[in-house]
């Protein structure tokens, strides 16, 4: 089992004919992902390796039964692409695009509230359910099917954590990068609730970073859960007032430091790992204790 992306997912790729879109679509198909359609306005009627391309998301829904989407369009068009997916009734929307203005995300979040859709991203590596499929950039070789749910605000740091698990023979249910922007679609809180109800997720690895209050909000949910969590927070050495790559990774007004977040997590019963290279072994230890 898994969350969000499962055997019933039929994926449409928005921006499938672009460089990024076509490359990652092919990678995803090699991984076993069920991509049923693509959308590029103006290129309806074409195909990518036999996958039909449509002008509108609604066509992919009506003709191919698409119920999930991956968005690889430039930042200026990404909010529109998300809204189009929401309107077409898509249930899982994954937006990989970097550089979406925060005020656009404010609008998108209002639209999401009136729908059944889950949005992952923007500015994220996407999500993978091993042996089912992936939407996004995560390298295919790092995954192994199993019972650990992984959620993170980062990209490569997530791969690092997943790879440590896999090397130790510990598999994952679903791994998700939620994105590094100040306002993202699905938050730690939203996804923790899904993992909590997933019978096959035994333990959760959560990777946070400096800036904002997402980690503090997550702690409240984890405190009330009967599943164990292992956590890591990046940015202990980050200086205040500087944007550390991600738009959301900034200590402002003295708030959002790693020290604060680590304390809140420890108080919530999360096993917080200090050394990035020891995420896997800590999960192993916690799993053994049962």
């Amino acid at each position: 089992m898994s969350i969000l992306l499962n055997e019933d997912s039929k994926i449409v790729i928005q921006g499938i004919t672009g460089g990024e879109g076509s490359f990652h679509t092919r990678e995803a198909i090699k991984f076993g992902t069920n991509v049923v359609a693509g959308v590029t306005p103006g290129k309806g009627g074409q195909d990518l390796d036999g996958i039909p391309v449509y002008n509108r998301v609604i066509d992919a829904v009506e003709k191919e039964g698409a119920n999930a989407s991956g968005i690889y369009v430039p930042a200026a068009f990404a909010p529109d692409a998300i809204l189009e997916s929401i309107e077409a009734g898509i249930e899982l929307i994954v937006c990989l695009t970097e550089g979406v203005p925060a005020l656009e995300m404010v609008k998108v979040k209002k639209a999401l509230k009136g729908s059944n859709a889950h949005l992952i991203g923007p500015n994220c590596p996407g999500l993978t359910t091993p042996e089912v499929g992936k939407i996004g950039f995560m390298p295919s070789f790092i995954h192994k099917k199993g019972g650990v749910g992984v959620i993170s605000r980062s990209g490569t740091l997530t791969y690092e954590a997943i790879w440590q698990l896999t090397e130790l023979g510990i598999g994952q249910s679903t791994s998700i990068g939620i994105g590094g922007d100040p306002i993202v679609g699905s938050t730690f809180v939203d996804l923790l609730k899904l993992f909590k109800d997933d019978p096959d997720t035994e333990l959760i690895v959560i990777i946070g970073e400096i800036g904002g209050t997402a980690e503090e909000e997550a702690a409240k949910i984890i405190k009330g859960m009967d599943k164990k969590a292992v956590g890591f927070i990046a940015g202990r050495t980050a200086p205040p007032g500087k944007r550390m790559g991600h738009a959301g990774a900034i200590i402002s007004g003295g708030k959002g430091t790693a020290a604060e977040k680590i304390k809140v997590w420890k108080d919530a019963g999360i096993t917080v790992v200090d050394n990035l290279t020891e995420i896997g072994v800590n999960v192993q230890k916690v799993l053994k204790k049962g």
């Binding site: 930042a75 550089g99 390298p139 490569t156 306002i183 400096i210 200086p239 550390m244």
Partner: protein
């Protein structure tokens, strides 16, 4: 992106938010000329840092002669405040403004609140202006009034009234404050600002509301649709190496340590800095070359990294997904050759084409340590940096 007070005030005027009469100047003669027109003036140093008043960057002149004298001292000097660091910042411009009779000082601000409860712009007002709002929030939170705005609809007058009456204004003041807030809100939405602050917003003896100070930060992700705002960037305010890096399209931030690092991905880059500290060293920088870096980009990023003379050893940490390890290895080899690199270099590669990458590095004949694990790499680079000192 940050801008100067004088630029913020020009934008305020564009959005019909009143500011004191005045102008910006970069020479003492210009300052004198403005003072001749206005009379008694306040001269304010224009740097991207708070605490200018306490640092000696805000001074009053009663005559044009005095204004000239103050400007001569201030322009070109280094101003040190609690936000600039001990090295201070050079004052290249000053804002020269009329001195107003202040009846009361208030605070107004709009910020995009990223907490899950809000995820939208929030308007804040306080009767306690002229002091740091963080201090008011910590000590007397009841003196801050907040209201959530919603950019899908337009600003509603009741939101302004909620703030205005909450700040203790009378009917006339509330009317003016509501209008001003509406304009300020339009500025945020119209220009993709992530934070706007007027602190203080003053009420003059004549009952006028005027923005005595102004601070605006912009969402970098929104700049593509505001070329006019992009032009307000002051390159002089930026660390020269950080400026070079941003022109190159990589994220680099200079720190004080001596272990340089180059990583793909922002989260992993931060975590690598933390690991260096955990191994007993201090990171010299944050450097994220991104997911799809070319050999050429890696070489350029490397040249920025080694222009920091504090750097004694370098750790390269790459988790290759889309970015293939052999490509990284080629970039490193080219960089080490072309830049005549003499610093010890420890490389940890993991992921796609890792064996090919390692082989390339080992066969290069260069002084490159290929580490088997990340932990080993961190320990090695820290000890190498320590022995170079």
């Amino acid at each position: 992106m940050k801008i100067h007070e004088y630029q913020a005030k020009k934008l305020f005027n564009d959005f019909k938010i009143p500011t004191p009469k005045g102008d910006v100047a970069s020479t003492p003669d210009e300052v004198k000329k403005i003072a001749e027109d206005i009379g008694k003036v306040v001269i304010k140093a224009q740097i991207h840092a708070g605490g200018r008043g306490k640092g000696g960057g805000v001074k009053i002149a009663s005559s044009p002669g005095e204004a000239y004298k103050i400007a001569k001292e201030m322009l070109g000097s280094k101003l040190v405040t609690h936000q600039t660091g001990p090295e201070g910042k050079t004052v290249n411009k000053v804002l020269v403004e009329e001195v107003l009779d202040i009846e009361k000082e208030l605070y107004l601000g709009i910020v995009i609140d990223r907490s899950q409860k809000e995820e939208q712009p929030v308007i804040m007002g306080s009767s306690e202006g002229g002091v740091e709002i963080e201090k008011v929030a910590a000590q007397t939170p009841e003196k801050i009034v907040k209201v959530s705005a919603n950019p899908v609809g337009s600003f509603s007058a009741y939101q302004g009234r909620k703030i205005a009456y909450g700040m203790g204004l009378d009917k006339d003041g509330a009317k003016k404050a509501t209008r001003l807030l509406n304009n300020l809100y339009n500025l945020v939405i119209g220009k993709d600002a992530s934070l706007v602050e007027i602190n203080p917003l003053i009420i003059t003896k004549e009952g006028e509301l005027i923005a005595l100070d102004g601070k605006i930060n912009f969402d970098d992700d929104g700049l593509y649709r505001h070329p006019d705002i992009k032009e307000l960037r002051d390159l002089e305010e930026e660390e020269p190496l950080e400026r070079q890096a941003s022109d190159l399209g990589v994220n680099y931030i200079k720190l004080d340590g001596n272990v340089g690092c180059m990583v793909n991905g922002a989260g992993l880059a931060m975590a690598t800095m933390d690991l260096i500290q955990l191994a007993g060293g201090e990171p010299a920088n944050f450097l994220d070359v991104g997911g799809g870096a070319s050999s050429e980009k890696i070489e350029k990023a490397f040249s920025i990294l080694i222009s920091d003379k504090n750097v004694k050893a370098i750790l390269v940490n790459i988790f290759g997904g889309i970015l293939r390890c052999d490509r990284v290895a080629n970039g490193l080899i080219e960089a080490a050759k072309n830049l005549d690199m003499s610093l010890p270099l420890v490389v940890r590669l993991q992921g796609t084409n890792v064996e090919e990458g390692k082989a390339l590095l080992n066969d290069s004949g260069l002084k490159i340590e290929v580490a088997q694990s990340l932990d080993e790499a961190a320990k090695k680079v820290v000890s190498l940096a320590a022995s170079e000192v």
